[in-house]
Amino acid sequence: MKLTDMTAVELGTAIRERHVTAMEAVEAVFAVIQEREAQLHCFVTLDREGALRRAQEVQKQIEAGKLNGPLAGVPAGIKDNLCTRGMRTTCASRILENFVPSYTAQSVARLEQAGAVLIGKTNMDEFAMGSTTETSAWGPTKNPRNPAHVPGGSSGGSAAAVAAGECFMALGSDTGGSVRQPASFCGVVGMKPTYGTVSRYGLIAYGSSLDQVGPLCRDVRDCAALLEVIASHDPKDSTTVLRRDTDFTAALQDDVEGMRIGIPRDYFAEGLAADVRERVLAAAQVLRERGAVVEEFDLSLVEYAVPAYYTIAAAEASSNLERFDGIKYGYRARDCQDLHQMYKKTRSEGFGEEVKRRIMLGSFVLSSGYYDAYYLKALRVKALIRQAFDAAFADYDVILGPVAPTTAPLLGESLQDPLKMYLGDIYTIAVNLAGLPAISLPCGTDRHGLPVGLQLIGNRFEEKKLLRSAFAYEKAAGGFRNCREVD
């Protein structure tokens, strides 16, 4: 098998068993990068020399028996909104063009402790605001399956890099679908854990009540292994939860006998592309044949998730992004007469169009006179949405549906109509509002050969049920190579 065709866990095993060295793994991904990166643009920053140095250290520790985890020596990409000490972190924004963090995000630090080798920072929508990676100040990433199409977003660089073989695994962040939707568009596995499972320390905040860091991987086993490494109770993020059940790889059992799976009828209504509908229902049938009890039900409130989300996310964004003022770090506008002019000019020149749009909306819904009618109303609807999921999980172990209404759109198609782009988040967004875990995995391709994603949603803290059902589906569908190559 070609080295770059391995999964992260397969590569980790090959390194531990001395068939491959960590340095060879780094050289292998940089050979792919050499070949494909100019076209795809998955990365904002790459550090070949640093990665090779780090690989040598890791190799020594593996040989000394000090590192023996499944991901030791495996090259990883990190979304450019996760702080990495000494490595530029831009959030794909001009306002953080030259920002070099003095500390490392907790999730990234956990990954490094497990022996992973960071090769660079992946491209994204500016401040994670977008669904296509086209709002990046550094230009778009292309979909490796067809470079005329977007990779999805906002973690589009991470998804595309894993799909293209430019790294073996990557971290992303998911505020409204930003890990799952690009995973779906690029044909890889992406997971958003239960809110509070992975520390947000060092994740540059967008919507703090919704943000979670999550893995993007080649298969379900890699996804479980990576999540197991990054999950932690962190005193530096007071919203993290002390969990005793983070041995996620223990859930990799090919067994869905008797598992109750619910399909929300409202996820298959108007607006869903025929090919996507067909592939996702075929995946449900596979699980039924494996012994799962699959039923349709009415989830309700589905159409209200998008307006509630954009109100809440914009409000939180307007507050979180106040810190970018040109004083302590980042870009500062030139030739300003006074402090206030400097703030305004810096922010107006430093932020892109979509970021400004959301900050304006957020400032409006939080302003006096509108706060109750918009912001509090959205938080009340959020409570109703959580109740609807709670009711569903009284009957079902897992909810099954599509990740997105369509496969990856063509480059340049989405940004002209922001509202239409927001509507593409309809199946992913409620998961963040309710704090639930969900996984996106490939379930075939559409008539143009573009990947279709299957979404499985679990109750809070029930990642193991998700991983078990995802693993069983992947096994039945013939493993990740088959899922990726089915045309």
Partner: protein
Amino acid sequence: MAHSITDETIEYVGILAQLELSPEEKKQARQDMGRMLDYIDQLKELDTEGVEPLSHVLSVENVMREDVVTNGDMREALLANAPEEKDGMFTAPRTFG
């Protein structure tokens, strides 16, 4: 009901958001915000009487700790990112007239 966003509203939101928009951007912002609010108005169809606003999805309690400094002196590293600094401090344009 269709929202019509006035120039005054955009002016006011610009102050809150600390953004200075060009005339074209203002025009676009009026249109975008109006359309978005029309869309968000769907939420008004739902009866939320008596529903408590939900800010945090998990039941959380205040996390307390001793007030002890655990990080070291990072002045140099932090100032290295400053657009302008002088004598170990951040500098900014004058605040008053």
